[in-house]
Subunit: 196 residues, 2 copies
DNA sequence: AATTATAATTAAACTAGTTTAATATAATTT
DNA sequence: AAATTATATTAAACTAGTTTAATTATAATT
């Protein structure tokens, strides 16, 4: 893959481990660039997730459809975040989640078929992925805590504060889905906040 | 540390990566055995978590006290599970969680001060920890999904099915806390289930 | 500019789960 | 065995958030 396009990924990795120029080149030979249009799916529930994707530009939502066909958004990914169904990726079993682009989106893809080979050639990346997954796990646990201990209003305020960029880019009903509340109730919360 | 006592940990690690006898010995020199009594704390909210603990026997609860002093249990750990506040451990900042023993508990401890050294001596362990944290992250995400899409009754049934051993070993009000509901409501759910 | 589709607001009726408080049942301690 | 402490049950009043449905605003399309 083209080095210039991959620069945000290389910068991101170098925050965790230092790659030599040689290693950067090996990395480039292992990754693929891909562009998706707004609305397109990167992964569909039921498919096996073959890639871990690093978002260069654009925005995706990762969501789950329950038995009643209700959509539950579990995360948004923008620039410098990851998009994949990790459960499906690591076990190569059907995905629980859909990942769909909310904007035109440019990605770097790591393929399941070559990632072991990549770890063998650049063992440092094993360390890198360990570290980012540790962080993701911690964030996920903290979200469970918030779900338990905050009211819907406080969860919304936390979201606004933590991800102001994301709130600007997506419709409000998706924020509600991410928070696990109805769009009507989020609307009510916002109108109450406006009066304070 | 004594090899015989560490055997469950070695067996557990060998499910992910194969350690040579030499590596097993290095590992043993890096880990510590410790016994806690029922009621003792392994980590307290506000302290920095210095160890990642592998449970050899016994049972712990990891919980969070909110502003009103309410306890929210986020996980239980029994034999062959881990107990630590990973957020605190990886950043060496004050812990959000308490970890307390619900039974007399025997642990193997990995210390923050030597874990980098251990990774350097046995790079395979970086891979091992990456893999187990991937699994923990996936489990955490799935729990968020369940919180969103299942009723309290269905979450309880899921818990019963997934962790029948744990349900036998802990009081019911702790199950309720883990599920994020009140003990009174869990009691109601159980009496409804008894009628079905 | 008019039309259609998408997103957001409002409000009333409803329900899953909470709160409070009293009672019952185990389990421990003396 | 009696007394104390911890755990579990039950029920009534309550509330945070849902459902349904109608209305308005915004954006996209012709």
């Amino acid at each position: 893959m083209n080095k210039q396009k991959a620069q945000p990924l290389i910068d991101y990795i170098n925050k965790y481990v230092l790659l030599t120029p040689e290693e950067e080149n090996i990395l480039l030979s292992f990754i693929r660039f891909r562009r998706y249009l707004k609305g397109q799916y990167i992964v569909q529930q039921g498919d096996v997730c073959k890639h871990e994707c690093f978002v260069l530009s654009g925005c995706t939502k990762t969501f789950y459809l329950d038995e009643e066909g209700q959509e539950h958004i579990i995360m948004f990914s923008i620039e410098d975040w990851w998009a994949s169904d990790m459960g499906s990726f690591i076990t190569q079993t059907p995905a629980d989640f859909n990942i769909q682009c909310l904007e035109h989106t440019e990605l770097v893809m790591f393929s399941y078929d070559t990632i072991e080979d990549l770890y063998a050639k650049i063992p440092k990346l094993e360390r890198f992925f360990r570290q980012i997954i540790e962080k993701a796990f911690v964030a996920s646990q903290k979200r469970i805590v918030r779900n338990f201990s905050l009211t819907a209003k406080d969860q919304y305020l936390y979201f606004k504060e933590q991800y102001p960029e994301i709130e600007q880019r997506i419709p409000q009903y998706m924020v509600a889905s991410y928070l696990g509340i109805t769009k009507e109730f989020l609307s009510k919360i916002k109108s109450q906040l406006a009066l304070e």
